[in-house]
């Protein structure tokens, strides 16, 4: 009952925050803009041309928008109770700290997944109106983006129990940047472009800190691009297939089951840390 009440009213509060509404509005407008762009900009005559532009646009803009929304939610969902002092009145009521933490995580999770669902539906509609295709890879792109954003969101929530929310978010942004670099390096290790001791270090870091879940969207974009560019033959590329294989080796592939289990374990662990942080918190 207590956790439900916390979740319910946190959702109501989040729904009333202008920042979140603005972020979602901007992302929806940009997604629509991506759908219109190939018809307005010159040089996108074929369906594949348009698809590439749309997929690149969606992967850049929606990926960032989902992350920004997750940051915005993570920054306010607990910190504003702490910052305003509202948490004093809330925790003096007969609710356990576990109930409070569960309510906060549930509401934050719900709203980020909801936002992600809106982006997914909008982006799929845009692709569908432009000829369709790539639906499954787009779905997994959004699923992976959502999962990554959720992990970062819980990290922000943990840090905001102790720190100012802007500082907490800045730390997680830096962490996210490192995560991206590790993902790229790990892809190179898997393709034997990096070997030896450094490869060992990269693999250790990859399996020690929570790493990003990935889809095959970037690989799909690379494959489609090559197909478009070599439709009339590729005089500059005597062996396009070999070139594609080399390009794909640099791009991380979709995460496997092991990565998903690993993500889940990390998510549960971070939620447990958040609970312990709130349990120890004296207000």
């Amino acid at each position: 009952m207590g956790a439900y009440a916390v979740a319910r009213y946190t959702l109501l509060e989040l729904g009333r925050r202008r920042l979140l509404q603005v972020l979602i509005g901007v992302a929806i407008l940009l997604t629509a803009g991506i759908g219109i762009a190939p018809y307005v900009l010159p040089g996108f005559r074929s369906a594949d041309d348009r698809t590439i532009l749309i997929l690149v646009g969606i992967s850049r803009i929606d990926g960032v928008a989902i992350e920004l929304c997750a940051f915005a939610v993570g920054m306010v969902v607990i910190n504003h109770d702490l910052d305003s002092g509202a948490i004093v009145a809330i925790l003096a009521k007969p609710i356990t700290r576990l109930g409070y933490a569960a309510g906060k995580v549930t509401s934050a999770l719900f709203i980020v997944v909801l936002i992600d669902a809106v982006f997914t539906a909008g982006s799929m509609l845009v692709v569908l109106l432009n000829g369709g295709g790539h639906m499954d890879v787009m779905f997994w792109f959004f699923a992976a983006s959502s999962a990554n954003a959720l992990l970062l969101m819980v990290l922000v929530m943990i840090l905001t129990v102790y720190l100012n929310n802007v500082i907490g978010a800045a730390i997680v942004v830096a962490f996210s940047f490192v995560q991206n670099q590790v993902s790229d390096l790990h892809a190179m290790v898997q393709s034997n472009l990096i070997t030896g001791t450094f490869a060992g270090i990269v693999s250790t870091v990859w399996w020690t800190v929570p790493h990003q879940l990935l889809s095959n969207l970037q690989r799909d974009i690379a494959t489609t691009s090559l197909k478009v560019n070599c439709m009339q033959g590729c005089p500059a590329l005597p062996n396009p297939q070999q070139y594609l294989a080399q390009e794909l080796a640099r791009i991380p592939g979709a995460s496997g089951e092991g990565d998903i289990v690993y993500w889940l374990a990390y998510f549960v662990a971070l939620c447990a840390i958040l609970y312990l942080a709130l349990r120890r918190k004296q207000v």
Binding site: I90, I95, V283
Partner: protein, 250 residues
């Protein structure tokens, strides 16, 4: 109802003790006043009783249990110092939220919430909490505190930062609750407030109880509570004189 034994609280290892070996007991039907200057440790005692801070040592019992026990806290109504509530909610939503936390059924929440807001002068208020004045937040704090029909009501500096009219109104509301037989723990540095409401008083200075007992026993004939309080406080902290530069004639 409440038993505090040898309570000590130090927030950080280098900080002085905020509360230093405090013991007190609160009986049913009492109106107990915690008096003390700013920084005496009054709010720390109150927060320890409602489980918001952990004692460094000592013990706090609340209705025979610990403050961490949600069932024990269900019998307490708490109006915190400088109260605030989720900023984007309206008063009736705060009441529903807190009613749910209190475990009240839907009909009870609706009825008690409306009555409590009416009593606190906030009926029909449609603005979000972030638009509330301090006085309105204080009224909302009182309204949410009584929501669960508590056996014990704790008020932490309920009239701090209020204008004279707000002070009078809040004092009247607390007096009504006392008249209704609710046990009250009032934490304040305003002597008149405590004198008016409480039958038993503890005076805290620097985390220690300097005097405790019924007001009549604590205040000798021919003296006022303010005089007793000042004597106890000044015995431990002399007021510094003006800085030198302020004494120079311009």
């Amino acid at each position: 109802m409440v038993e505090v034994k040898e309570l000590r609280k130090r927030y950080r290892s280098h900080d002085p003790l905020a509360v230093d070996g405090l013991s007190l007991a609160l009986e049913r039907g009492q109106a107990f006043g915690l008096l003390g200057p700013n920084g005496a440790g009054k709010s720390t005692v109150v927060k320890s009783i409602v489980g918001l801070t952990r004692p460094t040592s000592g013990e706090v019992r609340l209705f025979g249990s610990t403050p961490g026990d949600a069932a024990a806290r269900a019998r307490v109504g708490f109006a915190p110092e400088d109260p605030d509530f989720p900023k984007f909610l309206r008063a009736d939503e705060v009441m529903d939220y807190f009613g749910r936390l209190q475990g009240l059924a839907s009909e009870e929440r609706r009825q008690r919430g409306a009555e409590a807001l009416e009593w606190a002068g906030l009926a029909g208020e449609r603005r979000q909490v972030r638009r509330f004045s301090k006085g309105m937040k204080q009224r909302l704090a009182l309204a949410q505190a009584i929501l669960g029909r508590p056996a014990l009501l704790i008020f932490d500096e309920p009239t701090a930062d209020l204008d004279p009219v707000g002070r009078r109104d809040v004092r009247d509301m607390i007096s009504q609750l006392k008249a209704a037989g609710t046990t009250i723990l009032l934490n304040s540095h305003l002597l008149s407030e405590v004198e008016r409401v409480c039958d038993t008083v503890a005076i805290l200075v620097r985390g220690r109880v300097r005097a405790v007992g019924p007001v009549q026993e604590l205040v000798p004939e021919g003296k006022t509570l303010e005089q007793v309080f000042m004597e106890l406080v000044e015995a431990t902290s002399a007021a510094p004189g003006l800085p030198g530069f302020m004494k120079e004639k311009s």
